[in-house]
């Protein structure tokens, strides 16, 4: 290279790198893109209440329905209402889902009431906020297959950085029952079996890809590491009939990993499943 150019190049390459760069880059990379997203802050206690009610109702509903074949409306999810508002630096974009077509009105009303309560809660949160704040919520049907309907609701709170949550409702549309995680298994041993499988997958993924980090190594993480799923951990059943366990952003991994999910191989849980109707 030309000598003068070489001098200029040297000068350029000697531009000092500030110590802050490292931290700034890491933080910027771990922020979720400031893009329209969604939210759903139903507490697990509230969720549990609905689950219990519907599970108790389901056997009766199943019986009634089996006697009147073909009269059932198609069970579907529609948008009940949308809320869009913004003032200055605060913003809300929420789409409220509504389940329709269930014969079991109690179940349908319970689910829909919860969805509406969530929207109301998000709206109140939005109204009280000053400064930079955005909340968004949306939903989609991720499985509608073999009589299983899984609805995913994603909720995002953005205040400086974002916090993403995912909430699932999984319905047995043939028997009109809400499927809960405990209801899939014979006993509570599933908590340990699934947790072990997830820890195994976390290690395997980190080994295969340096960019992936899970809070799983006690010697490397200053904070709590993942030990066990909650008995009502968020889950859904995918269109291949596999159980998928979901975690909110920051729960088990740094923010840049987002809300993370683990597909549990059926052979791992086969022996403790109640039956093979839902999970295959």
């Amino acid at each position: 290279m030309n000598k003068k150019l070489h001098e200029l190049r040297e000068e350029y390459k000697n531009i000092p790198i500030p110590v802050e760069l490292d931290k700034l880059v890491t933080e910027a990379l771990h922020e979720k893109p400031k893009k329209k997203r969604f939210v759903w802050p139903m507490t697990s206690v509230a969720a549990a209440t609905v689950f219990v009610a519907s599970v108790n109702l389901s056997p009766a509903a199943a019986d009634t329905l089996s006697k009147i074949p073909g009269v059932k409306e198609l069970v579907e999810v529609v948008t009940f209402e949308e809320v869009h508002d913004g003032k200055g630096t605060t913003k809300i974009d929420v789409a409220t889902p509504k389940v329709s077509g269930l014969e079991n009105q109690t179940l349908e009303n319970n689910i829909n009431a919860d969805y509406q309560a969530t929207t109301e809660k998000l709206y109140q949160e939005y109204k009280q906020q000053k400064g930079h704040f955005a909340v968004a919520s949306d939903y989609k049907t991720i499985t509608d297959h073999h009589g299983i309907l899984s609805i995913e609701q994603t909720i995002l709170h953005v205040q400086a950085s974002g916090y993403e949550q995912k909430r699932y409702v999984t319905l047995d549309t043939k028997n009109e029952a809400l499927i809960t995680l405990p209801s899939l298994f014979k006993d509570t041993s599933y908590i340990e079996v699934i947790s072990e499988e997830i820890i195994r997958q976390m290690h395997a993924q980190m080994k295969a890809d340096d960019n992936k980090i899970y809070f799983v190594n006690p010697e490397q993480e200053p904070v709590d590491v993942f030990k066990s799923i909650h008995k009502n951990q968020q889950f859904y059943i995918n269109d291949k009939g596999k159980l998928v366990i979901s975690f909110d952003e920051y729960d088990v991994a740094p923010g840049y990993m987002g809300a993370v999910q683990f597909v549990i191989p059926t052979k791992v849980i086969q022996s403790i499943l109640v039956g093979d109707r839902y999970i295959r």
Binding site: N2, K4, P18, V25, K34, N211
Partner: protein
């Protein structure tokens, strides 16, 4: 994991690996640490957003260089620190270069170059990018890039041999 996750992981790896390069490039425009850091941060945010729409890409690094260059030039425009110079003005300057800029040092001469020319010199000789990658980054065709590189070097009164501009 999905393809989307792969691209995102690739992006995180690329920015992390080459952050010093991206920072220096940003710094070469604004000449101060705070602004350069702001540009890097801003460029990462833009990159993350654009990533969601991205279908495929040949080189993650070139792609992000493009974002850094655009973010830096936008920054300068906003702060009115840049003037766009047309080729005629440049021809005029170039004709007088030998006479008037005897005494200024090389460093200063580079700073005085119009931004379109400086960008190309920096990318070619300091960041070691190929002409076609640069053409992609600055959204110009290969010939325009070569012309600007040639003119830029001439303005710096750097002796040009065939090998200097081309590969």
């Amino acid at each position: 994991m999905t393809k989307r996750h792969d691209i995102r992981a690739q992006f995180v790896a690329c920015v992390t690996d080459y952050k010093d390069d991206f920072y220096r490039l940003a710094y070469s425009y604004v000449k101060n640490q705070q602004d350069a850091l702001d540009i890097v941060q801003d460029a990462i945010q833009k990159g993350l957003q654009a990533l969601e729409r991205l279908e495929k890409m040949d080189s993650m690094k070139s792609w992000f260089y493009k974002i850094v260059v655009r973010t830096a030039i936008d920054f300068l425009r906003k702060h009115k620190r840049v003037t766009v110079m047309d080729d005629d003005t440049l021809d005029y300057l170039q004709s007088g270069a030998e006479d008037h800029y005897e005494d200024i040092d090389l460093h200063e001469a580079l700073e005085r170059l119009p931004i379109e020319y400086r960008t190309i010199i920096v990318l070619r000789y300091f960041e070691d990018l190929k002409i076609d990658a640069i053409a992609e980054i600055v959204d110009e065709n290969v010939n325009t890039v070569k012309t600007r590189l040639y003119r830029g070097l001439k303005l710096l009164r750097i002796e040009i041999t065939e090998g200097t501009v081309h590969e």
